[in-house]
Amino acid sequence: MKIAIVVQRYGVDINGGAELHARYIAERLAKHATVEVLTTCARDYVTWRNELPPGEDTVNSVRVRRFPVAHPRSPDAFGRLSHLVFDTRHSVADELRWLDSEGPTSPDLVRYVRAQAGAFDFFVFFSYRYYHAWHGCRAVADKAILVPTAERDAALGVSIFGPVFRMARALMYNSPEERALIEHLSGRTGPGVVVGVGSAIPDHPQPSRFRRKFQARRPFAIYIGRIDENKGCPELFTYFTRYAAKRPHGLDLLLVGSNVIEIPAHPRIRHLGFLSDEDKFDALAAADVLIMPSQYESLSMVALEAWALGKPVLANGRCDVLKGQCLRSNAGLFYESFDEFDQALFHLEASGPIGAPLGRNGREFFRKHYSWPVIEQKYLDMFRRLAREPVPAVEPMPGFFARRARTLPPAADVVAAAPAGAVRS
């Protein structure tokens, strides 16, 4: 079997959620099939500037083929078109221009996918919202498997994605909430499975090594990820500052990751910057609890890593996916206000009665659903199933005039009208 993984960026130093997800899947599937990664020369997801050389490369024993991006993203044009598509009535032509401006616009990549359609059994496209996934899925619809990595944001309400969701042979979802949302918005009924992704969990992380190295003497909660407004960090800082004032002997807060926003100077908040994987897992093992303040997540890999290490999670309850994961795993609490944050964090301290059993549940949840053998098996089962099933018809694009009629509702309104909430089972 020969599989192509098509993703917007690829490399060991590229740590975006979907890109890391794609790399893990490519490396794991390489044990069962011939895997080739098709990607762009971009490294920066804001500009999509060509930074890596085009042509063939090998990353962790996986063959990678890079294609140049035709033009970098213009933030002004993209912002203007985003406003047009998300907030006003617009046309299909507007949406296509928006997709083109979002990038990474690589017609060479799409041409290669179309030309090599016969050479691969399946093409696994990552991140539905980008140029390569939309054009690629249409080019080889009979072999396209889509890993949407969709969050509940306005892009999901853009109408051109509906046919792509419907015509892809299979969708590999990250969570039941993502599945429910996509199926509601697109009307898809075809094959799909909630898979997610595993992680490279070390067998024996050493919390004491971390405590020695970073002089962490007090018990602490940890946040791992980009310290950014979009990740809910300002609210986390506000809540934690109040918590610290209220509970002088409570947990400290350690932040791991690069900061985009300013971190408040507080004696109980420490920023450790970007850590190696070894230090990161040691830190996670030393922590009492992982805090996930983000409101927009399609799958939190770091939450899964915490559960794999037997640590409970405190998540933002306004994120359906995280809340659903906490409920299904019975391994984390969630908050929607300061009082809930305060009470939940207090009860999740390692010395309390809840932390340890929740951590055990988390470890079991990870083992049952997100260990690599389980994930690999779900992909292989899907490949086998699709090889047997008939290929559905491709939906044609609207005609010249229909494409230009500004009759489509604002995408943000479409998503807002979709039902929300965590899926409990």
Binding site: R247, G332, D339, Q343, A344, G352, P353
Partner: protein, 281 residues
């Protein structure tokens, strides 16, 4: 007060979250939603403390923009204006030929019209100045009214918050009174009729044994102290009872805070009985 009950083998996150929310509702007293709290916080920050909202510099702002307009160009026109010149010989020649000019043109009518126009211009300028002054007064008046309306708005908000605060305090007091009534009903016969039985632990609001009754010797000592207080001039049985209640840490914290749901209350309760006090130390 409810506590988080967990059996290690069967943790249910949904149930824990329900317990946490119930506990928060109990502690808050008045059950504000998060949105209502946010709204109250916003009102306080934006309208009570933000001096920019008052626009006290409105008049200066207006004056900066509406400067006195320059006087429109005007002229003076008299009967001899058309013949005037600073050159002496030319003036002589013009005067000499004036009768001849009058023969062909009615110069007086032109002179009168232009003179009248000049006066009209002067009057218009005068009226313009008056309008500008009136406009300034109008803006001053508007500014004062804005200030007054803003002040009234703040006062209304203030009063509304005081009403909310008072109603939540009344609720809190009612609950506290009910709780204390329960304690009085239970304790009074114990003190008067069966002193020896007072050593048994009494359930409190928090579900813990009261410190006074937990130890027999301590109970006897407390009774002695109460008797001494009753004998003391000015000391009444009610005072002694009140003192005993006030000795309970939870009660003393609750009584000390005006806001009901403020941090002081919660901290007091958390650090003593409900929230695993030793872990928090």
């Amino acid at each position: 007060m409810s506590d988080i009950n967990v059996r290690a083998e069967s943790v249910d996150v949904d149930q824990i979250m329900r317990q946490i929310r119930a506990r928060i509702r109990e502690k808050r007293g008045a059950d504000y939603t998060e949105a209502e709290l946010q709204q109250l916080a916003t009102v306080k920050l934006e309208q009570f403390l933000d001096p920019k909202g008052l626009r006290s510099d409105l008049v200066q702002h207006f004056r900066r923009k509406v400067e006195e307009s320059p006087a429109p160009p005007n002229y003076e026109f008299e009967a001899d204006t058309v013949f005037e010149t600073h050159r002496g010989p030319l003036r002589t020649i013009r005067n000499l030929f004036r009768p001849l000019l009058k023969l062909f043109v009615n110069i007086d009518r032109i002179t009168t019209a232009l003179h009248l126009q000049s006066r009209i211009n002067s009057q218009a300028e005068h009226r313009l100045r008056q309008v500008e002054q009136r406009e300034m007064l109008a803006y001053e008046l508007l500014h004062n009214m804005t200030l007054e309306v803003t002040r009234l708005g703040i006062e209304v908000h203030n009063l509304r918050m005081r009403v909310e605060s008072l109603s939540s305090r009344v609720d809190f007091d009612e609950r506290r009174a009910k709780a204390l009534e329960g304690v009085v009903q239970y304790r009074t016969p114990v003190v008067r009729q069966a002193p020896a039985a007072a050593g048994a632990g009494q359930p409190t609001l928090d579900g813990t044994a009261s410190g006074e009754g937990a130890d027999g010797d301590a109970g006897t000592g407390a009774r002695r102290r109460r008797r001494r207080r009753r004998r003391r001039p000015g000391g009444t049985a009610a005072d002694a009872q009140g003192q005993t209640w006030a000795e309970r840490p939870g009660d003393s914290d609750e009584g000390g805070s005006d806001d009901g749901e403020a941090g002081g209350d919660e901290r007091g309760a958390d650090d003593t009985t409900d929230d695993r006090g030793p872990a928090d130390q």
